[in-house]
């Protein structure tokens, strides 16, 4: 049985045939990235930018392979154009996971401000998002939301709260 939040998250991806993992590295994402790198089921791709990663996942979906973009909040701020002109109008069920910087113990004011842009951007283009705080409901939320995304041709964003992950290990402890 999976025990850590990252193992539970990756199990939900596997349960839904999400194989392409396109990511830009982040401290909090490290266990996810390690997990997908160690498991041949997944195809991890280190993208140079988050919009590039999103384009890749869009192409893979159209080609028949489900994928997810892994990024942190500042990376999310780079993808508004790709969301609004590619993912949403073309009705592509891109799966995204964002490790949430800028809250509950942030030390970098730049991260604090950029994090505040995330939910308003998502709400303004009606992209579903779920803030994950609880390991007990994590699998249910991720599993069902991926299924909903695929059944409704709509993207979904999972936001990894410090309440779930413990936050950035470089921050105040």
């Amino acid at each position: 049985m999976p025990v850590t939040w990252s193992e539970t998250f990756l199990a939900a991806l596997k349960d839904n045939d999400v194989r392409l993992i396109s990511y830009v590295p982040d401290n909090v994402l490290t266990p996810l990235i390690k997990g997908v790198t160690a498991d041949n089921y997944f195809m991890p791709v280190n993208a140079t930018r988050e919009d590039e990663a999103l384009g890749m996942v869009a192409g893979a979906f159209m080609g028949g392979m489900r994928g997810i973009v892994m990024m942190q909040t500042s990376g999310f701020a780079l993808i508004a154009n790709a969301l609004a002109s590619l993912i949403v109008p073309y009705q592509i069920p891109a799966i995204m996971v964002v490790s949430e910087r800028g809250t509950i113990g942030e030390f970098n004011i730049g991260q604090v401000l950029v994090a505040r842009t995330m939910r308003p951007v998502l709400d303004s283009i009606a992209v579903a998002h779920h803030t994950l705080t609880d390991p007990d409901t994590l699998h249910f939320v991720v599993d069902r939301s991926i299924k909903q995304a695929m059944l409704t041709q709509s993207p979904v964003v999972f936001i990894l709260s410090p309440l779930l992950t413990g936050g950035n290990p470089a921050g105040p402890q």
Binding site: D51, E52, G55, A60
Partner: protein
């Protein structure tokens, strides 16, 4: 070092037509503006994807298709201005080494559709040198029409990743594909053999 200074200036619509004439089941992802206008003009194919916005993402989208369908040749058509916006994707493509991916760059040295402002390739930047530096050794300038036909005659399913760059003139595209993204996506998926996309068509 690639030298683009003495190359023949070619025509995008003409080269696109020559390309489409050679294609079978290859997927083609065309970047915003004239790259996809001329692809549509060459005759719609079920395996064509026409972008609307998301400037710079033709190559990443094509990479995704190539990773999902490693047996199918996949081609990205991108302008110089668009590629300059996302040069990092060349490094990602070099790392992943998809043997079935070909990038074709139409380089006229201007942001043609926004008012003909010069791009960096009109000064010192050499797209082929950039691609080679990023780790795509199969990158070369197209010398003329016959050279282009010879390069694409090798096929697209293997030998990649490859980047072909052509110096082109400033003729704009003459017709535009329908701006119906859900339709474009659905037809593209059907063209790629996605059963769900085809189910209503029997």
């Amino acid at each position: 070092m690639a030298m683009s200074g003495n190359l023949k200036v070619l025509n995008r619509a003409d080269l696109t037509k020559r390309l489409v004439g050679k294609l079978g089941q290859e997927a083609v992802v065309a970047g915003i503006g004239n790259a996809n206008f001329d692809l549509y003009r060459a005759g719609h194919r079920a395996q064509n994807f026409y972008m609307l916005g998301s400037m710079g993402l033709a190559c990443p989208i094509a990479l995704g298709v190539a990773l999902a369908q490693p047996e199918r040749g996949v081609i990205a058509l991108e302008g110089d201005g668009s590629l300059l916006m996302s040069l990092g994707c060349l490094a990602t493509i070099a790392t992943m080494k998809p043997r079935n991916l070909t990038l074709i760059v139409w380089d006229n040295g201007i942001y043609q559709i926004t008012g003909r402002q010069p791009t960096a390739t009109s000064y010192l930047t050499d797209i082929v040198a950039v691609a080679r530096g990023a780790g795509i050794p199969n990158s070369e300038w197209v010398r003329d029409e016959a050279h282009f036909e010879g390069l694409i005659a090798r096929g697209f399913a293997q030998g990649g990743p490859t980047l072909l760059a052509a110096k082109i003139d400033d003729k704009p595209g003459e017709i535009q594909p329908p701006r119906d993204p859900a339709l474009v996506r659905n037809r593209f998926m059907k063209g790629l053999g996605n059963e769900k996309a085809a189910v209503l068509d029997g």
